[in-house]
């Protein structure tokens, strides 16, 4: 037996492959061979580590040293220093934004340190293309247990007692859904997996399918046993080619090993699993539309009831679960419901994966126990707001969600508490926004998405979202009317109550939640023609405060339309006729000397700003 002393777990997820994993791997192989280390140091390709922005990433075991932003050029030095001489190579390590010290070990890096991995338990630890590695980490033990030592009722009870709620958006109790379907008598039933992941910016499901495809399959086998289904589909969007490839391989391996197909593990239970490639429309992620789509029809929602548990795919009783939901099933079966409940809260048990993006220092996938404060995710894991800027809001739940302001950052992340703010946990998209964000623009951004994705079947959603979008566009262009705010609110409520499916029923959420916490921004857009964040070009005047300007010339050099004049030691000035309100100077000035005033401002800026500042204080 040859002895391997070190494993280099090199990320081969979509993100890291795009930033160069393949070349880095070749370079590593070459250097290791040159130094005579090929025998004792092994390279293992893993799935996504959730830290794609810093990719390609690699963890070195047993030292657990984490490297990021690997390049072919750095490989010789890395191999010489770390693998030959035993000196971890600082240059490629994680560094905290303010303190510049390198942190070698993965377990000490704040982004990873605060996470608790259940869904992502095998992330970066196994080669997802080898079923043996999955089995070595207790894989398929839960299937063995469920199929040999548990009745369907016991499986359902365990999942119900665990408190696991669907991670696809609605947060419905998984065990209860299984129970409904199990009670409907039918010779043919279906167990389905939703890997459509349509929320823009979300990638937790892709990451699980790429890094740990067997965990999804295992959850489906157990679910199938529980409800009495012998057939299943995983619905994956065609834009996820790597996830599709890994799932295909995993299904083939599991079938060959007798873990799928006829007579699984010689227990007499049959379950056949296939993949269905989704066409990409957002609405196809909705359960009834998804089932129509598998049937080969156009993916359009239909009214419920009948619920899929009664009449689903081809009118047979069916259960559809999200990827992340299914990946949690096997540990629950192995460790029991009490174990699952040891994290999270009474009504929101366990952990949830969030896709943290936007204006934070560390972006990526974050798995945390439910119930921890939003602040912990944004500041401890996310490392706070980039470039020392001020936090403004965090958008949760994607296009169906809402914005949460600063004063609510200490609320615990649970289904109930988040809904109470007007946002939703949803599939776990979390976009952090800094002070330079216009909230009307943010609402407009999400409405653009939903108005575009509305399938058109029902009028309130098809027409209503379009009207909302047009009004928001008008407001950001300075054509807002006095009555707009009331109209936005009324129309939003109508769309919510009268739309057929979840898309229409949630589409106005971004409007309502920004109106709830940032109404003054709508008002200043409409009444004062003033976008205080300086984003809406028709609603701003940029002005340099002469008393603060250090005449450094940075803005002058940065201005794309040469609208700034000045010389050394003389405060600079913006020539309004030339200014196109692009905001570049504002972002460039290191001395905070530039102010944002209403469109077409005339008068004394100092006096005006002093007055509005005082007014804002009084309001508080």
């Amino acid at each position: 037996m040859e002895k391997v002393r070190s494993h280099l777990m090199l990320c081969a997820g979509t993100g890291c492959v795009a930033s160069g994993t393949t070349k880095v791997k070749a370079a590593l192989e070459e250097e290791l061979a040159k130094k005579g280390l090929s025998e004792e140091i092994k390279i293992v390709l893993t799935g996504c580590n959730g830290y794609c922005a810093e990719g390609p990433v690699m963890a070195v075991y047993p030292e657990e040293v984490f490297y990021q932003k690997l390049t072919v050029e750095e490989v010789p030095k890395l191999v010489e220093e770390h693998f030959l001489k035993g000196r971890p190579y600082q240059k490629l390590m994680f560094r905290e934004p303010e303190k510049k010290t390198a942190i070698p070990a993965m377990k000490d890096i704040p982004f990873f340190k605060h996470q608790v991995l259940r869904v992502l338990r095998n992330k970066g630890l196994i080669d997802p293309e080898k079923i043996e590695e999955y089995i070595a980490r207790d894989g398929y033990q839960a299937v063995a247990k469920a199929l040999t030592a548990m009745t369907p009722e016991e499986i359902i009870k365990t999942v119900k007692d665990s408190g696991l709620r669907g991670r696809g958006g609605a947060g419905f109790l998984t065990g209860l859904k299984w129970e409904f379907a199990s009670k409907v008598p039918s010779a043919v039933k279906f167990m389905l997996c939703n890997g459509d992941e349509g929320d823009p910016g979300a990638f937790m499901d892709r990451s699980v399918m790429e890094a740990d495809p067997h965990s999804v399959i295992e959850g489906m086998i157990i679910g199938a046993k529980a409800i009495g289904a012998n057939y299943g589909y995983i619905y994956v969007r065609a834009e996820y080619p790597l996830a599709v490839k890994r799932l295909r391989m995993a299904i083939d391996q599991a079938t060959e090993a007798g873990l799928l197909g006829k007579n699984i593990l010689d227990t007499g239970f049959d379950f056949e699993l296939d993949i269905y490639l989704g066409a990409g429309a957002f609405v196809c992620g909705e359960e009834t539309a998804l089932m129509r789509s598998i049937e080969g029809k156009r993916g359009m929602p239909r009214p419920r009831p009948p619920f899929p548990a009664v009449k689903g795919l081809w009118d047979k009783p069916s259960v559809l679960n999200n990827v992340e939901t299914l990946a949690q099933i096997s540990p629950i079966i192995l460790n029991g419901s009490e174990w699952y409940r040891s994290l999270g809260t009474e009504k929101s048990a366990g952990t949830k994966v969030f896709a943290l993006t936007g204006a934070v220092n560390n972006v990526g996938l974050v798995e945390v126990p439910m119930g921890i404060p939003l602040r912990t995710i944004i500041y401890d894991i996310g490392g706070g707001i980039k470039k020392g800027k001020k936090f403004k809001a965090v958008q949760l739940g994607g296009p169906s969600g809402g914005c949460i302001p600063e004063h609510l950052l200490d609320i615990p992340v649970t289904y109930e508490d988040i809904v109470a703010t007007g946002a939703i946990v949803g599939s776990g998209g979390m976009v952090v926004m800094d002070e330079g964000t216009c909230m009307v623009g943010t609402a407009k951004f999400f409405l653009e998405f939903t108005a575009d994705e509305s399938c058109g079947k029902c009028t309130p959603c098809r027409v209503g979202t379009k009207i909302l979008l047009d009004m928001l566009t008008d407001i950001t262009e300075g054509k807002g009317k006095e009555s707009d705010i009331a109209t936005l609110e009324d129309l939003s409520r109508d769309i919510i109550t009268t739309s057929l499916c979840g898309l229409g029923q949630t589409a106005p959420n971004p409007v309502l939640s920004t109106l709830r916490y940032f109404k003054h921004e709508y008002e200043s857009h409409i009444h004062q023609k003033w976008c205080k964040a300086g984003v809406c070009r028709n609603l701003t005047t940029f002005w340099i405060d002469e008393k603060l300007c250090k005449a450094c010339g940075a803005c002058l050099r940065a201005c794309p339309s040469k609208a700034i004049v000045g010389e050394k030691k003389v405060p600079h000035k913006i020539i309004q006729e030339l200014c196109v309100n692009c905001r570049t100077c504002f972002d460039t000035c290191k001395f905070n000397s530039i102010r944002i005033l209403p469109a077409g401002f005339e008068g004394d800026p100092n006096e005006f700003l002093a007055k509005t500042a005082a007014g804002a204080k009084e309001e508080k």
């Binding site: 043996e132 590695e133 398929y140």
Partner: protein
């Protein structure tokens, strides 16, 4: 892969134990070979090879080997440190192929530090 039975799952897990001891921790012995510039010049590479051979011979999957950089003791190279779970690490100096194999038998497998080669006990652990 042939069709599996429930018992096979356990067997596969055992077979991959060494790989996962490396990745998940949970090893019982850690041998650190110091690989600074002078260590390599003094023959640390051969010490490493000897250690790897000995481990392969006994087929134990709970022993891991790592390297570390300069220990600041150039005159006494090659150096290696043996760390048994729950015992203070022992650093050995002026190693040769024979000495490290003896240490492997006595200390790593037998649990008794080889005092005649030991430099210090209880030195700090390193990456």
């Amino acid at each position: 892969m042939p069709r599996l039975t429930v018992a096979d799952l356990q067997k596969i897990k055992e077979k991959y134990k060494a790989d996962f001891t490396l990745r998940e921790g949970g090893y019982t012995v850690k041998i650190i070979v110091h690989m600074g510039t002078c260590g390599i010049a003094a023959g640390a590479r051969n010490i490493m090879t000897a250690v790897m051979e000995e481990i392969a011979k006994v087929n134990r999957n709970d022993i891991i080997v790592t390297t570390s950089g300069c220990a600041g003791l150039c005159a006494k190279e090659p150096l290696a440190t043996v760390e048994l779970a729950n015992q203070p690490p022992v650093r050995y100096s002026d190693l040769t192929d024979e000495k490290i194999r003896e240490i492997f038998r006595e200390h790593v497998l037998g649990g008794k530090p080889v005092e005649k080669y030991a430099l210090v006990t209880g030195c700090e652990t390193t990456y």
